[in-house]
Amino acid sequence: MELIKELLFNTDKKLAEFYLWAKNLWLSFGLHPVFLDIIIQLLVVIAVAAFLVFNALFIIYYDRKVAAKFQVRYGPNRVGYKGILQTVADTIKLLIKEDINPDKVDKVIFVLAPFLVFIPAFMVFLVIPFGKGLIPADLNIGILYVLAITGLSVIGILSAGWASNNKYSLIGGLRSAAQIVSYEIPMVLAILAILILAGSLKMGDIVNAQSSISKWFIFLQPVGFLIFLIAGNAEINRAPFDLPEAESELVSGFITEYSALKFAFFFLAEYTNLFLTSAIATTLFLGGWQGPFLPSFVWFIIKVYLVVTFLMWIRWTFPRIRVDQLMEFSWKYLIPIAFLNLIITAIVVKIV
């Protein structure tokens, strides 16, 4: 009992003890310590990947249930208890479907594109603090790494649009490129203000800087939080910013020609990105894993799902914005406001 309690609430200490114990054991066999680190890192990667896959399965189900609630209907309720296995069934269906490669596609890029979208989404979780001490790698450049890697997914979308040899896909890909590039700027500016307050790029330090609820950056940076949410929502191409895959305009945008497993990867990436954006918002603005009574990672999941629910609420309420309004909104409103926010933050921090 005590041990479980310790494990739940002081995860960092227990993990450190375990690492020391393993290292001593390893050294007693007379092996080089680097290999131990590699093995442990591999285990961590597998654990995170497994968590993310199951989480993505759940989050798709959750999205459909939330949508159903907003739309006065039931949502999936046949497969498993209250339909909880619906996504699993869907995934199996996608796996066994015929994998269609249209004739005139650019084969190599066409096949590569889903992975170019999917892999960055997973890589970012390297620096996400899931709980006290539960961070795969607390890099010194943490948040910079996040921004760099999330920016990569645009290459995948763009190449999917180009390689499909379909005009709808191409328009979708180009829209996406324009969108991600212009919304990254306000997002970075909003994060910069956080960095001024936290004084570090390290994700662990940013969480530690928000040790009590009054120090949460959402209260110190409400404007920044809004900008981050809007820009983050635009980055992951969800309504009202779902222009790259706008169904009523571009059929399915850059996913039009994709089917079966490749489609599943895009789908998985989309929902992983949703979770990711919410996780970053939680870490930067909502105090990360900090909270009373409950274990740290439980708090983290609760907060992330609150943000996820909020984003879903927006998605199922608003119509889609138009492409020129999208650009206008970013360049004419978000970026100036973000700049102003950054300057004011800098001045206030200097004075106080």
């Binding site: 949508a67 907003f70 739309q71 006065v72 209907r73 005009k167 709808y168 328009i171 309504a239 009202p240 779902d242 222009l243 706008a246 169904e247 009523s248 305009e249 571009l250 059929v251 199922w316 309420t317 608003f318 119509p319 889609r320 914005i321 138009r322 492409v323 020129d324 309004q325």
Partner: protein, 375 residues
């Protein structure tokens, strides 16, 4: 049909490209094809291509007896079956010189207005989808289902009702129809407010529709645009008011119009029309008196040789039926005037210069039904 891309190919700049939108496309609402010349996202030219589901209904009708034709008219515009029935029945009744009993007239108005609300609700939900809002459809279908249930109880059909007969009705309203109708009337006004709050007054929606796709009065009239699409351009043209038929002169209602003729005006006209239809329904309950529902119609309908045109105000505009009779049991020629066809023809005038997303918005605001265009 096939040479439309070639037409656009002429004089095409190198940075322009041709995109064939449809016939299979989520927002052409059926098998309509619009060939676009685009410069990036901007539309340079647009040619609608119709005829993919041409069924030859007009020719078919020449081989049917007069009373066998009614179900065919259901299938041209399946979203407002009653209004099509009504136009046809009015034409034949005019040809035969039959006066329809008072009660039948009122029931016709009730069904026609319910049909109008049904059609506008479907437009609203489909338009929400066009604009990327996926929730309004479910809300509108909730109320649409109520109407469909009423219609089903009355006619046995949910979409193609085949409700009317030449001279009146075969069956009277079922006993629980009026209570159901009263219940519907009691809450529907609030629901329309809800729809407006959910979609029409949304800030993204207004910014995407206001000032987009402006249809000038003169252009609209020249192209023969009718219905809410024309009334959005501030033209007071509603057959129910200017050429009342089936007892519409007894009802007190407003003809809704817009100001600028942009997409938003066309939307708001439809929303207000639902409220006006509700007013008509409310009055019709009081006007409904006991009585005959069928006029004296000969068993074999053989009109004297002659020509006749009758038109009603359908949800999309003027639904006209032109009949030429040669004195036999079958009509010599029937021409259907479908509002969607004329409304679509104006597309090119109002989309050029806007973006791809606007095309969807503008086309949706014209409320097209493709089987009616192709017939």
């Amino acid at each position: 049909m096939a040479d439309i891309p070639l037409q656009l190919e002429k004089g095409r700049e190198t940075d322009e490209y041709i995109l064939s939108m449809g016939p299979q496309h989520p927002s052409t609402h059926g098998v309509l094809r619009v060939v676009l010349k685009l410069d990036g996202e901007v539309v340079k030219d647009a040619i609608p291509d119709v005829g993919y589901i041409h069924t030859g209904i007009e020719k078919l009708l020449e081989n049917r007896k007069y009373d066998q034709i009614i179900p065919y008219t259901d299938r041209t515009d399946y979203l407002s079956a009653v209004n099509n029935n009504l136009a046809y029945c009015l034409a034949v009744e005019k040809l035969l010189g039959i006066e329809v009993p008072e009660r039948a007239k009122i029931i016709r108005v009730i069904l026609a207005e319910l049909n109008r609300i049904m059609s506008h609700l479907l437009w609203y939900s489909a338009y929400g989808m066009d604009m990327g809002a996926l929730t309004p459809i479910i809300y509108a279908f909730r109320e649409r289902e109520e109407i469909i249930d009423m219609m089903e109880a009355m006619t046995g059909g949910r979409l193609t009702h085949n409700a009317l007969r030449i001279g009146g009705f075969k069956y009277d309203l079922p006993s629980d129809f009026i209570p159901k109708l009263k219940k519907f009337i009691s809450h529907f006004n609030d629901r329309v407010d809800e729809y407006e709050a959910l979609l029409i007054n949304n800030v993204i929606f207004t910014s995407r529709t206001k000032g987009i796709g402006i249809l000038k009065k003169e252009i609209g009239i020249n192209y023969g645009v009718t219905g809410p699409s024309l009334r959005g351009s501030d033209v007071v043209y509603d057959l129910r008011k200017i050429e009342p038929y089936s007892g519409y002169e007894k009802f007190d209602f407003q003809v809704c119009t817009g100001k600028n003729g942009d997409t938003w005006d066309r939307c708001i006209v439809r929303m207000n029309e639902m409220r006006e239809s509700l007013k008509i329904l409310t009055q019709s309950i009081d006007l409904l008196k006991e009585g005959e529902i069928m006029a004296k119609v000969p068993k074999i309908i053989k009109p004297a040789p002659g020509e006749v045109y009758a038109a009603v105000e359908g949800p999309r505009g003027e639904v006209g039926v032109y009949i030429v009779s040669d004195g036999s049991e079958k009509p010599y020629r029937i021409k259907l005037r479908s509002p969607s066809f004329s409304n679509l023809s104006v597309l090119k005038e109002i989309v050029v210069g806007y973006k791809i997303a606007d095309i969807v918005a503008i086309m949706g605001s014209l409320d097209l039904v493709i089987p009616e265009i192709d017939r």
